[in-house]
Amino acid sequence: MSTNLIEFKDVSFRYGEDQPWVLKNVSFTIDEDEWVAIIGHNGSGKSTIAKLINGLLFPQEGEILIDGKKVTEDSIWDIRKDVGMVFQNPDNQFVGATVQDDVAFGMENRGISRETMVERIESTLNAVGMKDYLLTEPHRLSGGQKQRVAIASVLAISPKVLILDEATAMLDPNGRKEIMQTVSGLQDRQGLSLITITHDLQEVVQADRVLVMNGGQIWDEAEPRKIFAKKEELREIGLDVPFVAILADALLDAGITIAHEPLNHEELLEDLWTLHSKT
């Protein structure tokens, strides 16, 4: 058994023969239990990667392996059983007439028992704060409620690979935090390759590794701290760094040198405290 759950080998993709390449020689691996954040400017190819992983698209060049199996027209039905994906716009994925049916749908397809289904509908909708909406039609939900239900539906199938394509973009910071806690809780409990595509820098700092896309190519790949140390270069490709990294820079200008690139408030406060105690 390999621990590489996902492998892209020299993958190139374009949406048509007369269209430009949108992915060029992309190679990377993602381990089981790993959380990888994919960031990059609009149109850099992030959603295309997601669609290639669950076989909504197939590459013209290179190959993609999921759990050692090559993604092809034949293998894709099997592979999709293990892959849960939330799309950028949840309207594109609702299939049930009610919220409850929608969460049930993915489980039915995977032959999960009635009993477990009932349990999971309740627990996942509860986890995303939507348990009062069991009988609501999905199209009658607010923007953020739709995202919450879409996330419940994929959590319910308990996938091995979970891809969240800007799945929390319509939530407030607090709501985002809660949802990501739920997801990473699931990852801790039962193991899961987690791929989050996001423009939310707070979310990126929590990942194990960051893949930075630029113009269809991998621009860099490293842990968040190393990525966010490249402030100016990131800005050049349309990205930015989190609040604490900007403040650390401003502190440097004010004559306070922070020892290492902070990723969150506690780290920055800790560094300031150490400095303060020394003087």
């Binding site: 149109g43 959603s47 009988l135 990205l239 004010a254 405290w273 303060h276 105690s277 003087t279």
Partner: protein
């Protein structure tokens, strides 16, 4: 155009078992030429509120006044089109407002519909395309063959092309990359300053509300929970937490710093540079423990 909500209640699917009260007895006033942010938890009624501004929803009870137009159960507007030429709305999900065959036709649809001459539309499009960060070679593409962020930019371009007096933005930067978020917000602000566009922004970014708006309205369960100047509202942590909202990150950091160092750095809507200097002075001035 001044905008007023007078005791507005809005009920979805009224008189059915699924009846849902999304706004309840809501009154508010938005002055012509102001920049107002609307903030609130998931499902608090923000999108419902703004759907009244271009007559997409009519109050179940109460009245909405937009300039000379009044909307209520018994006063239906005959000229909805005129209202919609003055109030431009960017919806929460951009797909909901794209429908033409090509990006160019999509952007031209609004102004064409409101009788703007063809050559004037061309000029407008040429200006808007770079302003929203799109590249010219996407103009002939179907708007559905775009990335999420590109669709968002097209949807925004289509609304701007009408040159509305009132610009209503429902989370307009969701899906944009960090540079796009900043450039787009700066552009809306510039329109607001230069053209006097009344701007109503629904956002989850307390930072944006703080940076751009003169007034913020906090909704909770369809009612007005708080309102005021952003710098006054966003320091009230407990009140915000009660409706599942957070203070902006800078306010949060300052309070954590003060707690840790037993200091009293105030929040004054200061820049990062100013904050860094305050921290520097505080650390230098304070006795070490």
């Amino acid at each position: 155009m001044d905008i007023t909500f007078e005791n507005v209640t809005y009920i979805y699917q009224k008189n059915s078992p699924f009846e849902h009260k999304a706004l309840e007895n809501l009154s508010l006033h938005i002055e012509s030429g102001s920049y107002v942010a609307v903030v609130g938890h998931t499902g608090s009624g923000k999108s419902t509120l703004i759907s009244h501004l271009n007559g997409l929803s009519i109050p179940t009870e109460g009245k909405v006044k937009i300039g000379k137009y009044a909307l209520s159960e018994n006063e239906k507007i005959n000229d909805m089109k005129e209202l919609r030429s003055k109030v431009g709305v960017v919806f929460q999900y951009p797909e909901h407002q794209l429908f033409e065959e090509t990006v160019e036709k999509d952007i031209a649809f609004g102004p064409e519909n409101f009788g703007v001459p063809k050559n004037e539309i061309k000029t407008r499009i040429q200006k808007i395309i770079p302003a929203v960060g799109l590249s010219e070679d996407l103009l002939e593409r179907s708007p559905f063959d775009l990335s999420g962020g590109q669709m968002r930019r097209v949807a925004i371009a289509g609304v701007l092309a009408v040159k509305p007096d009132v610009l209503v933005l429902d989370e307009p930067t969701a899906g944009l990359d960090p540079r796009g978020q900043k450039e787009m917000m700066d552009m809306f602000y510039q329109l607001h300053k230069e053209q006097g566009t009344t701007t109503i922004l629904v956002t989850h970014s307390m930072e944006d509300a703080l940076k751009y708006a003169d007034h913020v309205i906090i909704l909770n369960k369809g009612t007005k929970y708080m309102e005021g100047k952003p710098e006054d509202v966003f320091v009230q942590r407990e009140a915000l937490n009660r409706v599942q909202l957070d203070v902006p990150e800078i306010v949060q950091f300052i309070s954590e710093f003060n707690e840790r160092f037993d200091t009293t750095i105030p929040f004054q809507n200061q820049s990062m540079t100013e904050l860094a200097q305050m921290i520097q002075r505080t650390l230098k001035g304070a006795e070490s423990p």
